[in-house]
C-alpha cells in the first residue's frame, strides 16, 4: 500500500474464493425514503389482500407438484396390484419375460435402462462441458452465436427424428466402421465382441448421448456464465493459467449447476423411448457385450402395451412403469447424494 489514501473506506470482507456463493448480485443499497415509484405502487395496490392471494396461488402451484407425483405413483401401484401380488419382489430380480406363459421379470429392462443411460452420460458429459467451456471462454466471437444456435436446435429435434436418423445413418456406421475398430482395439475387454449388427446397446447409448448433449451443454454454459467475472479475473491476477482459471474460477463455482444439468440430461436418457426402441434391438438380455441387443423399461412399455391381452400382462407392464419411476428416483437420489458429498466439505480440488 504505497498509495496515500486520505479517506478510509470500510474494507469489504472478502470471502475466500471457494466460499463465495456463485450467483446473485449484491443487494441494492437501502434508500432512506421510499421512492416516488414505490409510493405510487403502494397507493394503487390493494395491499395485503392481493399479496395474500398471490402467495396462495403460488403455494397451490407449488403443492400441485406433490399432487401430480402422488397421483402418478398411486395409479402405478394401484393398476399393477395383480402383478405385484403374483410376483412380489421377484419381479425386479428375475429375467424371464414370457407373455405366452404369463411369467414376468423386469431385471433385463432395468439393466438396459441404467446401462444405456450411464453410457450415454459417459459420452455426453465430457463433450457437453468441453463445448460449454469453449463457447464461454475460448471461442472466437464470430463462432459463438452459430454454435449456441445449433446446440439449441439439436435440443428441439423430436426424438423420433433422432431414431430415424440413427436407424438409417448411425447403424451402418456402427456396424461397418466404428464396430470393427472398437473390436480390434478393445476387443480384449469383452465389451466389444462379434456379432455386431449395428443395432444394440452401444448404438442406443450413442443416440442417447447425442440427444442429451444439448441439454447438458446449454444449461452448464448458462451456469458457468453466471459465475461472477471477478472470480475469473482474480484467478488470472494470481497468475493462474487459463485451465487453472477455468477449474478454480469457473468449474468449481458452477459445479452444483453443472450436476443439475447432468441430472436433467440423465432424466431424459432414462425416459427416452422411441429413438432407443428403434436402435437397441429390443431383446431382453443381460450380457457384457455392448454390441448385443438390449431392451429398456420405456421401450418394452411402448412396444407391448397396445396389444397386451390379459389382465396380468397389462398389470406387469404397468409395474414396469413403476420400476422406471423407482429407477429414476433412485438414480436421482444417488446423484443428489453425490452432490452433497462433494459440496459438504467444500475442500479444494474437488471441482
Amino acid at each position: 500500500m504505497t498509495q496515500p489514501n486520505p479517506v478510509t473506506l470500510p474494507t469489504p470482507i472478502v470471502e475466500p474464493a471457494g466460499r463465495t456463493p456463485p450467483q446473485g448480485p449484491p443487494p441494492p443499497a437501502e434508500t432512506a425514503q421510499p421512492s416516488e415509484i414505490r409510493r405510487f405502487l403502494r397507493d394503487r395496490s390493494s395491499g395485503r389482500a392481493a399479496d395474500g392471494t398471490f402467495g396462495g396461488l403460488m403455494l397451490i402451484s407449488a403443492l400441485s407438484i406433490f399432487v401430480i407425483v402422488a397421483l402418478i405413483l398411486w395409479v402405478l401401484i394401484h393398476d399393477s396390484q395383480l402383478s405385484i401380488h403374483a410376483f412380489g419382489w421377484k419381479f425386479f430380480r428375475t429375467s424371464n419375460w414370457d407373455p405366452v406363459n404369463g411369467s414376468f421379470g423386469a431385471l433385463p429392462f432395468i439393466y438396459g435402462t441404467v446401462v444405456s443411460s450411464f453410457l450415454a452420460l459417459l459420452m455426453a458429459v465430457p463433450l457437453s462441458l468441453a463445448v460449454a467451456i469453449f463457447v464461454l471462454d475460448i471461442c472466437p466471437p464470430a463462432l459463438r452465436a452459430p454454435i449456441s444456435f445449433l446446440t439449441e436446435l439439436l435440443a428441439a429435434i423430436p426424438s423420433v427424428v433422432y431414431g430415424l436418423w440413427a436407424l438409417v445413418v448411425l447403424v451402418p456406421i456402427m456396424r461397418d466402421q466404428v464396430g470393427p475398430l472398437l473390436e480390434k482395439w478393445f476387443g480384449w475387454t469383452g465389451l466389444f465382441a462379434e456379432p455386431n449388427f449395428g443395432v444394440g446397446m452401444l448404438t442406443a447409448s450413442v443416440v442417447l448421448a447425442i440427444m442429451i448433449f444439448p441439454i447438458i451443454s446449454s444449461i452448464s454454459r448458462d451456469v458457468m456464465k453466471a459465475v461472477p467475472i471477478h472470480q475469473r479475473e482474480a484467478a488470472l491476477a494470481l497468475g493462474a493459467t487459463r485451465w487453472e482459471m477455468l477449474r478454480i474460477g469457473v468449474l468449481r463455482n458452477a459445479r452444483i449447476g453443472i450436476v443439475g444439468a447432468v441430472i436433467l440430461g440423465l432424466g431424459r436418457a432414462l425416459g427416452e423411448t422411441i429413438a432407443v426402441t428403434m436402435v437397441i434391438g429390443n431383446h431382453p438380455d443381460i450380457v457384457k457385450n455392448l454390441f448385443n441387443p438390449a431392451y429398456t423399461l420405456a421401450s418394452v412399455i411402448a412396444n407391448e402395451f397396445t396389444e397386451a391381452t390379459g389382465d396380468l400382462y397389462v398389470s406387469a407392464l404397468i409395474e414396469i412403469g413403476l420400476a422406471l419411476f423407482l429407477v429414476t428416483i433412485v438414480v436421482n437420489a444417488i446423484a443428489r447424494l453425490l452432490v452433497w458429498a462433494v459440496t459438504r466439505g467444500n475442500s479444494a480440488r474437488t471441482a
Partner: protein, 338 residues
C-alpha cells in the same frame, strides 16, 4: 324472445342429435386402411351415419369393447374364451364378424442370392429357435436346390411390439412345428430366444434391407405396396407357395367348410393345394345386443353394406376379400344382431 330462440335451438340440436348416429369403434391397426375407407364411403352414401374408428391395437380394442367405452371393437386375433366370458359378465355378448384377410411373408437379405428362396415351416421355426444358424444349412439347401447359399450367420429379426402379425406368424409355426409350440408358443408378443426386435413392418423391412444375412417377416400388404421381394412357404399339401391375395382367399375357402359358428377360427396351414399357409382373418367385435336401437340399426346396415359393396374394394388395397361361402354365412349371422 330470447328464451324462445334458445328453446328452438335446443330442439333443433336434439333433433339432429337423434338423427345423426355416431358410432365409435377401436382396435386392430392392420385393417385400419380398409376400415377407414369403408367408414368414410359409407358415411358419404348414408348422410347422418358416422362411424369413427381408432386403430389403437387389438388388445386395446378388446379391452374397450369389453368395458363398453366403444360401440364395437376389432381384433387380428380372436378373443379367448376367458375374454368372452369377462365381456359377458360385463353385459356384452360379443359376436366375431370376419371382414378381410391378411397374410405374413418371409423376407430376407442373402448376399449373392437373387432367386426367391423357399422355406419349410420347420426351417423358419429353426431359424427363430436358434437351431438353424447358417444360410447354407442342410435343410435350407435341401429346400432350395440349385441356389448357392453362402456360409454366413443368419440374423433373425422379429416384430418387437405386440401385433397381429406376430400372432399369425407364431400361430402358424406353433401349429406345424411342435418344438416351436413348446419353446415359444403363440401370442401377440412372445419370448424370442434370440435375434433382434424391430418395431413395425417398416422396422423389420428396414433392418432386413440394410443388414446382410438378416431374415424377418412382414405383412403381405406391406411387402406388396413397397415392392419387397419375399420368399415361398410350404403349405399343408407340401406345395411351396408365394403369397398372393388369391392364395389367402383360397386358405379361407379351405377353412370355410369347417367354419365354427362363432368364426373364431385360425386358418394358418389351411388345407388346399393353393392355400397360402400364413393367412388369417381379421374380425370386427360386435355386441349382439344394442340398447340404443338406432345405433344398432346403423351397425347392421353397415355390415350388410360391407358384404355387398365393401368387399369389392379390398383387393385394390391388397387385402384378400372373404370367400363367398363365408360371406353368405356372415350375412345370416348379422341378422342376430339387434
Amino acid at each position: 324472445m330470447r328464451v324462445k330462440l334458445l328453446a328452438a335451438t335446443a330442439i333443433a340440436f336434439l333433433a339432429t342429435g337423434a338423427w345423426a348416429q355416431n358410432l365409435n369403434g377401436a382396435g386392430a391397426s392392420f385393417p385400419n386402411p380398409i376400415y377407414s375407407r369403408w367408414f368414410s364411403e359409407y358415411a358419404q352414401q348414408h348422410p347422418g351415419a358416422h362411424i369413427n374408428y381408432q386403430s389403437i391395437g387389438s388388445g386395446a380394442g378388446i379391452q374397450q369393447v369389453t368395458q363398453k367405452t366403444v360401440d364395437f371393437g376389432a381384433s387380428d386375433g380372436p378373443m379367448s374364451d376367458a375374454q368372452l366370458e369377462a365381456a359377458a359378465k360385463n353385459g356384452v355378448k360379443i359376436i366375431h364378424i370376419p371382414t378381410v384377410l391378411g397374410a405374413v411373408v418371409p423376407v430376407y437379405n442373402v448376399p449373392g442370392v437373387t432367386q426367391d428362396l423357399r422355406f419349410a415351416p420347420e426351417v423358419i421355426a429353426g431359424i427363430y429357435l436358434g437351431k438353424i444358424t447358417y444360410w447354407d444349412d442342410g435343410n435350407l439347401q435341401h429346400d432350395n436346390p440349385g441356389v448357392k447359399l453362402p456360409h454366413n450367420r443368419i440374423l433373425p429379426v422379429y416384430r418387437s411390439e405386440g401385433s397381429g402379425t406376430n400372432y399369425i406368424f407364431t400361430d402358424f409355426l406353433s401349429k406345424v412345428v411342435p418344438d416351436f409350440q413348446k419353446e415359444i408358443g403363440k401370442g401377440t408378443s412372445v419370448k424370442w430366444p434370440g435375434g433382434i426386435g424391430q418395431k413395425g413392418n417398416e422396422g423389420i423391412a428396414g433392418m432386413v434391407r440394410s443388414t446382410p444375412n438378416a431374415f424377418g417377416y412382414v405383412e403381405l400388404i406391406y411387402a406388396l405396396q413397397n415392392h419387397m421381394p419375399f420368399g415361398l412357404v410350404r403349405n399343408a399339401s407340401g406345395k411351396y407357395l408365394k403369397a398372393s391375395v388369391e392364395g389367402v382367399t383360397a386358405a379361407a375357402a379351405g377353412a370355410a367348410k369347417n367354419m365354427p359358428a362363432d368364426y373364431r377360427v385360425s386358418i394358418t396351414n389351411a388345407p388346399g393345394a393353393d392355400a397360402y399357409p400364413i393367412s388369417s382373418f381379421t374380425w370386427l367385435l360386435i355386441p349382439q345386443q344394442w340398447p340404443d336401437q338406432a345405433k344398432g340399426k346403423v351397425m347392421v346396415d353397415f355390415l350388410h353394406w360391407m358384404l355387398d359393396h365393401g368387399e369389392e374394394e379390398t383387393t385394390g388395397l391388397n387385402y384378400a376379400p372373404l370367400p363367398k361361402a363365408v360371406a353368405d354365412k356372415v350375412r345370416a349371422t348379422i341378422n342376430e344382431i339387434h
